[in-house]
């Protein structure tokens, strides 16, 4: 899928009227099948950029085009069809606890499933071999029938990535896929993703905290700082000076964001007996 952004200005819903933009871009275009890494200090707007491209966040001004279509000009079924072609993996894996891994992975294929098929799949998983292959690509084949809440944080994150392999999407937007993986697993996960994307001509946009991993796996690097694009260069031109400037005065650049706490359960309402 081809991505084009023009004159973008994004503000967060909760922002005060006078606050500066969370993200401001003049122009960004990613060709179909291209693989791009986005780097930058925390709070630079990396996640905002991904959500913008995923049509999860509506820009205040500007034009988002996915394969030449502006998702915000489409309505109803047409918008859903367009959304069905993209896949956004948030940083905290969006897996309900108590769901089984096989169901959680197969949920990636929901855009292509009808209501009946998805109901039936809750009783008997529809595509066990597919789920197994996707998990095996991340070394998780034996966890197929485990419950999600019995997995470690890293395993959960890889289950979230395995979901991508089952989607009918042609654009993968992956937010911090390595945040809870050890270096070895991280490299393996990244190469699995890039290889799978290359094989099916899928556009891959990944935000990364690990600069070395970004430089080693991607040919095009976008640097974001304070909600603006700092550079958009082939990897060979990303020099140490540029990186130092990108992360200047940002000592927490390599710290990992902690997972947000689950909201507290509501107390059982008392009832007259």
């Amino acid at each position: 899928m081809r991505v084009e952004l023009e004159q973008i200005d994004v503000r967060h819903l909760a922002a005060r009227p006078g606050a500066s933009a969370a993200l401001k871009l003049d122009h960004l275009s990613v060709a179909a099948g291209e693989q791009v890494a986005i780097i930058g200090p925390s709070g630079a707007g990396k996640t905002t950029l991904l959500e913008l491209i995923a049509a999860a966040l509506k820009p205040r001004f500007g034009e988002v085009q996915l394969d030449g279509q502006n998702p915000w000009r489409l309505h109803g079924a047409a918008q859903q069809r367009l959304r069905g072609h993209l896949f956004l993996a948030p940083q905290t894996p969006p897996l309900p606890p108590r769901q089984r891994v096989v169901t959680a992975v197969l949920a990636g294929a929901l855009p292509g499933m009808g209501l009946l098929a998805s109901l039936r799949s809750l009783f008997y998983p529809r595509d066990i071999p597919g789920a197994y292959t996707a998990l095996e690509a991340f070394d998780l084949g034996e966890k197929l029938f485990e419950r999600v809440d019995r997995l470690s944080g890293g395993e959960r994150q890889r289950v979230g990535l395995a979901r991508a392999l089952l989607t009918p999407a042609s654009l993968w937007l992956i937010d911090e896929p390595l945040s809870s993986l050890d270096p070895h697993r991280a490299q393996q996960a990244l190469s699995t993703l890039t290889a799978a994307a290359r094989q099916s001509n899928i556009t891959l946009i990944v935000t990364l905290h690990q600069v070395d991993a970004a430089l080693a796996n991607f040919s095009r690097i976008i640097g974001l700082r304070d909600g603006e694009m700092a550079f958009d260069l082939p990897v060979a031109e990303v020099t140490t000076e540029r990186l130092a400037w990108l992360y200047a005065q940002r000592e927490e650049a390599l710290t990992v964001d902690s997972e947000p706490d689950a909201p507290p359960l509501p107390a059982v309402a008392v009832q007259c007996r």
């Binding site: 071999p129 029938f145 007259c272």
Partner: protein, 275 residues
């Protein structure tokens, strides 16, 4: 992909089949026992009176005499609940004072004395018995003894809610920190003094809040008590329903829903004030 991976079957599947089968197997006797035949609702024989009744419900009766009557009965419902709770307190407070472990003087030196232990158990079991009998049954019994009217309702609420309040008061008092009270008792205070200087300040808000909440519940249940002749809105509703006076029924129901809404609001406001 090897052929081996294609052979994987869901290990939970046999369990799921068993569960589905077992629940269907259990559902059948349930449907038979409860005479569950929803299509009967749509047969002409039952459809006609239903329609007639529903049609009569609109518009609600609004003549002044009837409204006045309903308002008076609504007040009586509140009064039955309030008087019932007041009597329930008379029952629950002494029972709590006797049965709370923290206030036991003999328990200070290790074990409780056998006589007080027996007394405590007796009070507890009485409270459990009182609240195990549904208030409607108490009301049925008292209507037989004192005749139709609010007295039976007040007594029924007093007994059931006395049991409930006594039990929950005990739980609240025993859940707190016992050290303050016990040190007062060790210093030679009487049980009542230890209660009012040690236990009460700790737990007063929670105790009052629970009582207010129970008062709200009592209003709901005093309507139900009217159905066996214990006065209040329920008795009026029962009468109107037996006469198939749909308009009166809808007026009473509306007043009742409003009453419960107001009680709900007052009770949650009060409990918020108490913090």
């Amino acid at each position: 992909m090897t052929t081996a991976t294609l052979q994987i079957r869901d290990p939970a599947w046999p369990w799921r089949l068993t569960w589905i089968g077992a629940s269907l197997f259990l559902l059948w006797p349930l449907l038979v026992t409860t005479e569950f035949r929803p299509w009967l609702l749509f047969e002409a024989q039952s459809r006609e009176p239903t329609w007639r009744f529903l049609a009569a419900m609109l518009p609600p009766t609004t003549n002044a005499d009837f409204l006045w009557l309903v308002l008076r009965e609504a007040w009586r419902t509140v009064a039955i609940a309030t008087a019932g709770i007041a009597l329930a307190l008379l029952l629950a407070v002494p029972a709590t004072l006797v049965s709370v472990r923290v206030l036991s003087i003999s328990a200070l030196s290790g074990r409780m004395a056998p006589v007080s232990f027996a007394l405590r158990q007796l009070v507890r079991w009485t409270l459990i018995l009182l609240r195990s009998v549904p208030e409607l049954i108490w009301a049925l019994v008292f209507v037989r003894v004192v005749g139709l009217g609010p007295t039976a309702g007040v007594l029924a609420i007093a007994l059931t809610y006395g049991g409930m309040l006594g039990k929950v008061y005990g739980e609240i008092l025993e859940s707190g920190d016992a050290a303050v009270t016990q040190s007062l008792l060790r210093n030679g205070c009487s049980r009542l003094q230890a209660f009012s200087y040690g236990l009460l300040p700790q737990n007063a808000a929670e105790l009052i809040s629970y009582t207010v909440y129970r008062w709200e519940c009592a209003i709901r249940s005093s309507v139900v008590l009217g159905f066996v002749g214990a006065g209040g809105l329920g008795q009026q509703l029962d009468g109107s329903m037996k006469m198939f006076a749909g308009g009166e029924v809808s007026t009473i129901l509306l007043v009742f829903v409003a009453l419960v809404g107001i009680a709900d609001f007052v009770s949650s406001w009060l409990r918020r004030q108490l913090g």
